[in-house]
C-alpha cells in the first residue's frame, strides 16, 4: 500500500502535456508559468537546442550526398521520402515509416517527426491569422460544424502568441487576413516589388501581394538572435532565429522550474475513472525499453499532432467510452480530417532589371491573401485560396538557349552567371470539411511496440478540383498583367497530407451531439482533457494554421487553470 502510494506520488503532476511540438510546447510554457507542475511527454528522442543541430553550419560540400537521400534512407522512409522535406541535412528528424506504419485506405502522405520539438523544428514558419470570414464560412455554406468562437475572442490570444513567438510581417488591413503584432517585415526583392505594383494597380487593390509573415526574427527578440539569412531553418537554427519549441517555449517552461520532460514516452491511452468522470492520467510505453508505466495529473493536454491525438483518443477505450475517449455522443473523433491543397500555380520571367540582384537567402516569400468569394468576387467554388511564392534571379546568363545536354566551358560559365529574373505563385487552397474523411483504428497491423495503427481514409473533392483550375489561371493572369514573359501554369498534383497541415478529427462546437470539444478546447464528455493541436480545427481556411494552434493553446491553458482554481475540474 505504502509502496503504491509512493509510486503514485512520484508519477503525479498537476498537468500532463502529451507531445512537444508547436502546441505542446506552448501548453508546457503556459501551464508551468501559471505555477503548475507539468510533465511533458514526447514519444521520440530528445534534441537539445543548438547542441544537437549537427548539420546547421555545414557547407554544401560538407554534406556527403549534397543533401540527397541514400537508398537506405529511402527504404526506411518510404512515406517521408515522397516529398522534399526529408533531406540529408535533417534526416534524423523524420519518423521511421517501417517502425510506425499506418494504413492508407486512400493515398495520404503523413510527414512526421518523433522527437522533442516535433515539426516545430522543420516547419515552414508561415504565420497567419484567421479572420471572421474563416470562422463564419462553416455556418454560411453548411460544410462542417460552426466554429464556436469568432475572431474577436481569439484576437488577444493571437496578439499574445505573436508577441512571444516573434512574427515578422507587413500590416495590410486586408479583410481575410487580420494584421498582427509584427516585427519589421522582410524585404520584397526587385521583381516581387514590380509584380506587386502592377497587380495592385490593375485590380485596384482588390488583390494584394505582401511579404510573407513568418516566425523568423527580423530583430533580436526575447534573448534570441535575429535571422542571418542563411535559409537553413529546417536543420535547426544555432541563432534561435525562428520559433521552435527548443528556441522559445521550452526554455520558458524550463525557467519556471516546474517542467519535467520525458522523451521516449509513447502515450498508448488516457486512463479514465468512471467515478470521478475524469481522466486520471496516461498509460505510457517507454519507446526504448518497452516498459509500461502510468502517470497521473489533474488535467491533460493532448498535443500529439492531429493524427497522433486522434489515435490516442480512439485508443482510449473503456466500458464508459467503448468508441474512444469523449466519443460517445458525437461519434466524431477521427472525423472531418482535412489538409490544404497546393502545388499548382504559375510562373513567369523577365528580361529586364539585369542591373539588379539579391544578396542573402531570405527564408520567406510573398503572400497573396484570399480575395475570392469576398466583395464582388464570385466563383464556381466555395471559399478560396491564397498564394505563396517568390521571385529571384536564376543563372544561365549569356546563353540565349541552353542546348539539350549542353556541356563544356561556355555552359559552365553560363551556370556561374546571373540570368533572368523569374517569379512564381503557388496556390494554397482550403479543403472543405467532410464527415466521410476520417481516421480509425486498424487492428490488423501493429507498430514496433505492438500498438494497433491508424487507417486514414481521406480524399479531396470537387470543390478543391474546381479551385485548382482557378489557382493556376489567376496566377498566370497576375504574372502576365505584371508584364512577365513565358508565363506557364503548373499542377504537380496533390495528395492529402502533402501540405503537412493535417487538421480536424476532434472538432469544436457548442453542441456535444455534433462536436468533440467545447469552445475552450475541452472534451465535452471529459472535462479535464484538452485538445489544442490541429485536431480541434473546424475548417482549414487557406492560411497556414500553426499560429492559430498557438493562440488557442494559450487561451485553453488560461481557461483550464482558472477552472482548476475554481474547482470546476
Amino acid at each position: 500500500m505504502n509502496l503504491n502510494t509512493e509510486a503514485d506520488k512520484q508519477n503525479t503532476y498537476d498537468a500532463i502535456v502529451i507531445g512537444s511540438g508547436i502546441s505542446g510546447g506552448w501548453a508546457a510554457k503556459e501551464l508551468t508559468e501559471k505555477g503548475m507542475k507539468v510533465l511533458m511527454l514526447e514519444r521520440g528522442q530528445n534534441i537539445e537546442h543548438i547542441k544537437d543541430y549537427t548539420k546547421a553550419t555545414l557547407a554544401p560540400w560538407q554534406l556527403k550526398h549534397r543533401n540527397n537521400l541514400t537508398e537506405e534512407q529511402r527504404k526506411a522512409h518510404p512515406v517521408q521520402s515522397r516529398d522534399y522535406p526529408y533531406q540529408e541535412a535533417n534526416e534524423t528528424w523524420w519518423v521511421n515509416d517501417i517502425e510506425c506504419p499506418y494504413t492508407e485506405i486512400k493515398p495520404f502522405d503523413w510527414f512526421r517527426g518523433y522527437h522533442v520539438g516535433g515539426r516545430s523544428l522543420m516547419w515552414g514558419r508561415q504565420s497567419y491569422r484567421f479572420s471572421d470570414i474563416n470562422f463564419e464560412d462553416n455556418l454560411k455554406d453548411g460544410h462542417g460544424v460552426d466554429w464556436p468562437v469568432r475572431y474577436k475572442e481569439v484576437a488577444p490570444w493571437y496578439d499574445y502568441a505573436e508577441t512571444f513567438a516573434g512574427v515578422n510581417g507587413q500590416a495590410e488591413n486586408w479583410p481575410t487576413l487580420p494584421d498582427g503584432k509584427f516585427l519589421p517585415p522582410m524585404e520584397l526583392n526587385f521583381i516581387e516589388k514590380t509584380v506587386k505594383q502592377h497587380v495592385e494597380e490593375h485590380y485596384k487593390r482588390t488583390r494584394i501581394i505582401t511579404i510573407g509573415r513568418s516566425a523568423n526574427l527580423t530583430q533580436d527578440h526575447n534573448g534570441r538572435t535575429q535571422c542571418q539569412y542563411r535559409d537553413r531553418c529546417s536543420r535547426g537554427c544555432p541563432f534561435g532565429a525562428y520559433f521552435s519549441t527548443q528556441s522559445a517555449t521550452l526554455p520558458a517552461a524550463v525557467k519556471t522550474g516546474n517542467l519535467t520532460l520525458r522523451p521516449f514516452s509513447i502515450v498508448n491511452h488516457i486512463i479514465y475513472d468512471k467515478d470521478s468522470k475524469k481522466a486520471t492520467g496516461v498509460f505510457v510505453i517507454d519507446a526504448e525499453t518497452n516498459k509500461t508505466m502510468e502517470f497521473y495529473a489533474k488535467i491533460i493536454f493532448v498535443n500529439a499532432s492531429t493524427l497522433g491525438t486522434a489515435f490516442i483518443l480512439l485508443n482510449s477505450t473503456s466500458p464508459e467510452f467503448p468508441n474512444g475517449l469523449g466519443n460517445n455522443e458525437s461519434g466524431r473523433v477521427g472525423r472531418n480530417l482535412m489538409d490544404h491543397h497546393f502545388r499548382c500555380g504559375a510562373r513567369g520571367e523577365s528580361d529586364d532589371f539585369q542591373d539588379k540582384y539579391v544578396y542573402g537567402r531570405r527564408p520567406n516569400g510573398v503572400y497573396v491573401p484570399r480575395y475570392q468569394n469576398i466583395g464582388g468576387d464570385k466563383r464556381d467554388f466555395l471559399r478560396g485560396f491564397g498564394y505563396q511564392g517568390g521571385g529571384g534571379r536564376g543563372n544561365m546568363g549569356g546563353l540565349e538557349k541552353v542546348a539539350e545536354y549542353a556541356f563544356g566551358a561556355d555552359f559552365k560559365e553560363a551556370i556561374g552567371t546571373p540570368g533572368k529574373w523569374s517569379m512564381s505563385l503557388g496556390g494554397f487552397g482550403e479543403m472543405l470539411p467532410n464527415f466521410d474523411n476520417r481516421v480509425y483504428i486498424d487492428n490488423s497491423k501493429k507498430d514496433k511496440w505492438g500498438q494497433p495503427v491508424l487507417a486514414v481514409d481521406c480524399t479531396y473533392g470537387d470543390n478543391e478540383a474546381k479551385m485548382r483550375k482557378a489557382m493556376m489561371d489567376d496566377a498566370a493572369e497576375m504574372l502576365e498583367i505584371a508584364g512577365l514573359k513565358n508565363v506557364s501554369t503548373f499542377d504537380a498534383g496533390c495528395t492529402p497530407g502533402m501540405a503537412i497541415h493535417e487538421m480536424g478529427t476532434a472538432c469544436m462546437g457548442n453542441d456535444p451531439k455534433t462536436s468533440v470539444l467545447n469552445k475552450w478546447n475541452q472534451l465535452h464528455e471529459v472535462k479535464n482533457v484538452f485538445v489544442t493541436d490541429g485536431s480541434f480545427m473546424n475548417s482549414t481556411a487557406c492560411q497556414n494554421p500553426s499560429l492559430t494552434y498557438m493562440a488557442f493553446t494559450a487561451r485553453a491553458c488560461d481557461y483550464a487553470v482558472n477552472e482548476l482554481k475554481k474547482q470546476n475540474i
Partner: protein
C-alpha cells in the same frame, strides 16, 4: 520521387533548366531495390574515364574544373549510395558502350584522346543519347544506354557546383549573409549565387 525532388530543387536553386527530363523521369520511378552491396562498381580504368568525362562536361576555365573538385569519385559514390541497382547497371552498361565506341572510332581509349577529340567524342555521346531517347523503349539497347550520359552529366553539375571549388570559384557563396537585400546593384563580374542545399525560395514556404 524524393530524388527527383532533390535534384529538381537543385535545378531550381541553380536557376532551372539544368537537369535532363530523362534523368528526372527515370529517377521518378521510385525504385526501391537494394543498392549493390559494397562491391566496387567500376574498375580503375572505368573510374578514370568517369573522372575525365566529368572534366569534359565541366572543364577548367577561369576556375578549376570537375577533376580538381573531385567530381569523378563523387559520381561513383552517389551511384553506390543513392541509386537503385538497375540504374547502376544501366550506367555501367552505358559506360562500357561509350568506351567501346570511342576505341572503335579512334583506335585508342578515351583517356588517351586529345582534348579536342574528347570533346568530339562527348558531343557524339550527347547526340546519341538524344537519338536513343527518341527511339523510346522500342530499342532495348537504346533503352539501356540512354541513362548513362544524363546521369553522368547531372551528377557532374551537382557535384561540381556544390563542391567548395565550384561554389566559391565558379559561383559566389556566402555562408552567413547576415542580411537580405532584394534590390542589390550588380557588381562587375558578379557570379551567380551558388545553391546552399537548403530549402530554396520555391519551397521554403510550407509550414
Amino acid at each position: 520521387m524524393q530524388r527527383r525532388e532533390a535534384l529538381r530543387n537543385f535545378a531550381l536553386l541553380a536557376g532551372g533548366g539544368l537537369l535532363s527530363g530523362t534523368t528526372i523521369s527515370i529517377l521518378n520511378s521510385c525504385n526501391l531495390s537494394a543498392p549493390k552491396s559494397n562491391g566496387q562498381l567500376f574498375s580503375d580504368e572505368e573510374q578514370m574515364i568517369i573522372t575525365e568525362l566529368a572534366d569534359v562536361i565541366i572543364p577548367a576555365t577561369s576556375s578549376p574544373g570537375a577533376k580538381a573538385a573531385g567530381v569523378g569519385e563523387f559520381i561513383t559514390m552517389m551511384l553506390n549510395d543513392c541509386y537503385p541497382e538497375d540504374v547502376q547497371k544501366d550506367f555501367a552498361a552505358g559506360l562500357e558502350g561509350f568506351s567501346a565506341s570511342v576505341k572503335k572510332q579512334y583506335s585508342k581509349d578515351f583517356l588517351s584522346l586529345s582534348s579536342q577529340d574528347k570533346i568530339a567524342a562527348v558531343t557524339q555521346l550527347s547526340n546519341k543519347t538524344i537519338a536513343d531517347q527518341k527511339a523510346g523503349d522500342k530499342d532495348p539497347n537504346a533503352k539501356k544506354s540512354k541513362h548513362f550520359f544524363p546521369i553522368a552529366r547531372d551528377l557532374t553539375i551537382l557535384g561540381y557546383f556544390t563542391s567548395e571549388i565550384g561554389a566559391t570559384q565558379a559561383m559566389a557563396y556566402v555562408a552567413v549573409p547576415g542580411r537580405y537585400d532584394g534590390s542589390a546593384d550588380m557588381k562587375p563580374g558578379q557570379k551567380a549565387w551558388a545553391p546552399d542545399s537548403g530549402w530554396g525560395t520555391d519551397n521554403a514556404l510550407k509550414s
